[in-house]
Symmetry: C2
Subunit: 598 residues, 2 copies
Amino acid sequence: MYKAPVDDIAFALKKVAGLEAAMEQGLLGELTPDLLDAVLEEAGRFAGEEIAPLADVGDREGTSVKDGVVTTPTGWKALYENWSAGGWNALTGPEEYGGQGLPTSLSAAVFEMWNSASMGFAIGPTLTVGAVEALEAHGSDELKATYLEKLVTGAWMGTMNLTEPQAGSDLSALKTKAERADDGSYRIFGQKIYITYGEHDFTDNIVHLVLARLPDAPAGVKGISLFLVPKFLVNQDGSLGRRNDAFCHSVEHKLGIHGSPTCTMIYGDGSVDGEEAGAVGYLIGEENRGLACMFTMMNNARLLVGVQGIGVAEAAFQKALDYARERRQGRATRLAKNPEAGGQMSPILDHPDVARMLLTMKSLTGAVRAITYACGHATDMAKAHRGDAEASAAWKERANLLTPIAKAFSTDVGVEVASLGIQVHGGMGFVEETGAARLLRDARIAPIYEGTNGIQAIDLVARKIGQSGGEAVRRYFAELDETIEAVRGQNEAAFGATGDALAAAMADLRETTEFLSNATAAKDMDTALAGATPYLRLFGLTAGAVYLAKAALADTTRTERAHLARFMAENLLSETGALKRQVVGGAASLAAAHSILQ
Amino acid sequence: MYKAPVDDIAFALKKVAGLEAAMEQGLLGELTPDLLDAVLEEAGRFAGEEIAPLADVGDREGTSVKDGVVTTPTGWKALYENWSAGGWNALTGPEEYGGQGLPTSLSAAVFEMWNSASMGFAIGPTLTVGAVEALEAHGSDELKATYLEKLVTGAWMGTMNLTEPQAGSDLSALKTKAERADDGSYRIFGQKIYITYGEHDFTDNIVHLVLARLPDAPAGVKGISLFLVPKFLVNQDGSLGRRNDAFCHSVEHKLGIHGSPTCTMIYGDGSVDGEEAGAVGYLIGEENRGLACMFTMMNNARLLVGVQGIGVAEAAFQKALDYARERRQGRATRLAKNPEAGGQMSPILDHPDVARMLLTMKSLTGAVRAITYACGHATDMAKAHRGDAEASAAWKERANLLTPIAKAFSTDVGVEVASLGIQVHGGMGFVEETGAARLLRDARIAPIYEGTNGIQAIDLVARKIGQSGGEAVRRYFAELDETIEAVRGQNEAAFGATGDALAAAMADLRETTEFLSNATAAKDMDTALAGATPYLRLFGLTAGAVYLAKAALADTTRTERAHLARFMAENLLSETGALKRQVVGGAASLAAAHSILQ
């Protein structure tokens, strides 16, 4: 069973992402190291003791819908109620609406735990976070007064309604219609698909944020508006009014996250007796500026999907390690140097090949954790430096830069680590009762939703590395260099050739960055985009390995961190040369071979 | 829906694996190019029209057991009966027992199709092939007379019973007991797990091959014997006698291949009324030599598991390509050079990132197909050269060398390609109705069973590259060199830098082979085994890319093959340098980091 790695997470936040220094400088409000530890400790307890035991039932039972009513897994409603009663939903929300105003980085750490325990459960509150952000940034005072506290405390949950059958990655094709009503509200008509927690019984109201198009809107993405559409209308006194014309039509039968109802939502087909057709909606922000509202919360939403990758990877590693310690097969050679192994079978982790899998899992998990927390911290620092435009902008660019990597690399790692976890288990891994297989099934969605990982890579190449004329990425690389130089400057044997390996990877990262920047500048987008996915992985591997080394430098009491950083540097980082060649030399053959596919 | 790539498969057999030359030299008996084409054509039709439409029902319904009776998916019994009535089970069996005596390579090709259509269905007959081989090579005349024709024609199916809860990869821990009976037969007592098609209603008898230990057997693997244990005893006249004490206790709830019943079998617990406890078994081969009997068929069994990887990869590629041609999102840049793409959304395959995924899928699928067919062909050539001990031994060594690669690399590719297939589909890929998710679920077992891929890699490093003092691997590399030189010797622009890329990969392969040979010779097994998995992948990528180039050289009428070979060489082969560094420089950091896991 999952046990939250509270110490590792606290260390990654304080020493690697930079929270310790920020707390010392008073940049994180009332957050102290003690409070941070206490939050993590209690979240870890809740995740391990309350959520994790209900993960399997959620997977087995899944969800179903009948007459618009969705049945959720046994015990999940009570779990959600306990969870929100514990204040967990309110962790980052604005204090004036009942939130605790704690930093994004801490929220990422805590969401990692929820996801390790059950990704199908954690994805629900993830969506509420997005709704809170959009409403806080762009909602009218009236909308905020009516809905924000309910969403912040978790009394109601939120959903995001973007996708339609013909409009997935490309939102310009949206067809859902919004019509202006006489009272200043709107009526929404259309179908939305893949709506996570679009309908359920956890809360007595659900707040849908829906992208739709006004009759006179310009074509394309500049004609999309954002609306708040409650499941039940809310009376002046805050009590619930009539049912709105917003219904779940069906739930998907999915590969994973079975406990999470993924709904097809129908807005405005006249399902409410005695009312004219049309779901009552309220504009958020300005007409035709809906996409800008979505962008506000996109970084954080993507960050929290990256967190799903970490969460699943950590859970998969723990499960595989437990198994590899217990399971005995064959006789290992000398790796274990375990005197008691003489006559009997060895624990399988003593076989080098199994050790390779486990160390790959552990180092990749640590790497994506560090990147993602650093990304969250950058968001917090942009906020903390509100008064200093330049500093704030620099931090904002840092968050922008790291977001696609935190999202895509972490979720790719989630799939990779979960698959290795199955392999470590052998035949037991393929049997569902073990739970290793569920982790792969759950993990597999994260590279797809909230912008596919291909789109993240395009975002990184086409937009993020060009921020401020390349200055944002240069500043970041300079910081990575500092760690690399520090590794090279010490003589600890445990680091092995880590410094040189990091420096070689860094050189690959710089060369590819320059290559892609030039291609983009020359408007040779086919070349730039052909290299986007290998480039993102190169970036993630390098940054992640540097963070593992940074952690090792910060913790001189234990050589384990140095050993892990060294394993990653001397084994996994060898891939950066290969990725570089794909970026720099792979586009022509890709273009030439494209005709095969037509 | 799956459509067998009959032309591609025929080409790979004839021109790449070498069947054309072998047929010309009369080495493949009565097989002619026309017969080969006809077999593939008809198998392709059966796979696409008869099996594929029943894949989903098998996945949805799965199997269940009640009172020892297993329920198989709707329509599958009739499917099996049609399939074996069509002579497909008898394809490679000995002619004197009703088989058609066709080559292993052709069998691999046909099994690829069955697996593309439904891996859960195809795995059943795969096990029967193993039973036929063991019985043919080691069974007494009486056993052959009673059982072999039934197994060859498919009237009865076979199973392999190796694994026990405490004995998976390490068979030395087997506990199932065999006791000698007065009549020369044996009584078997014990539990076996993960028995594929251990019980079902496809055939009226089932022939279990069971590893067990005699009371006076030596400890370890030298005390294991192989027994034939029929579900129903067989009377002298060939009619079925009483039920044997061999029952299915439960079926596993698995990640994939749901249509295939994976059984826990209980032998000899006295479940047959009026009979003494003990399953009646008949010795195959000699007492305590059971493992040698298993080894006879191990190459072919591993080959056919490799074929599962190809089959799933091909199916995943086809499905993803179909989707990527139809689905339109966004506007591609110039890759497609498609004039009609002006105002409307582009098919997603015109986006470089999607094209990269699809070309990766196609090239890897072609690569593992070529390796696996070449491996099967080597087995056939060893048989065809029976009269020439040296030639036969050389071919046998070739088959031995390629078997772990065919098994492990193909099945890793199966998982990788199936996962990419989901990604190409976006959200649709995560919805089970699309079928892309099932392919990943099915594929995930193949790297585990029939010797985990880690064990394949150990086999390659510890045993196979040392065959004949390294001569077997040197001969193979010399053949790869010939193709590489031929690529470098021509001036076709479509090949781009393929020749140089292949040569660089080949140098990496030679260097790592030498490094691992030296480590093995020095008995530094920790170093050798730490590099085993990356080495196997390096070997597979290089050999596969050379085969794609060989195919391109053999087909000068179409540049598509050259484009594909080039894509693989210039993109995917860049990984060999990384893998080399892991082999040559990765072991020390792995050993140092091992303490983290303890």
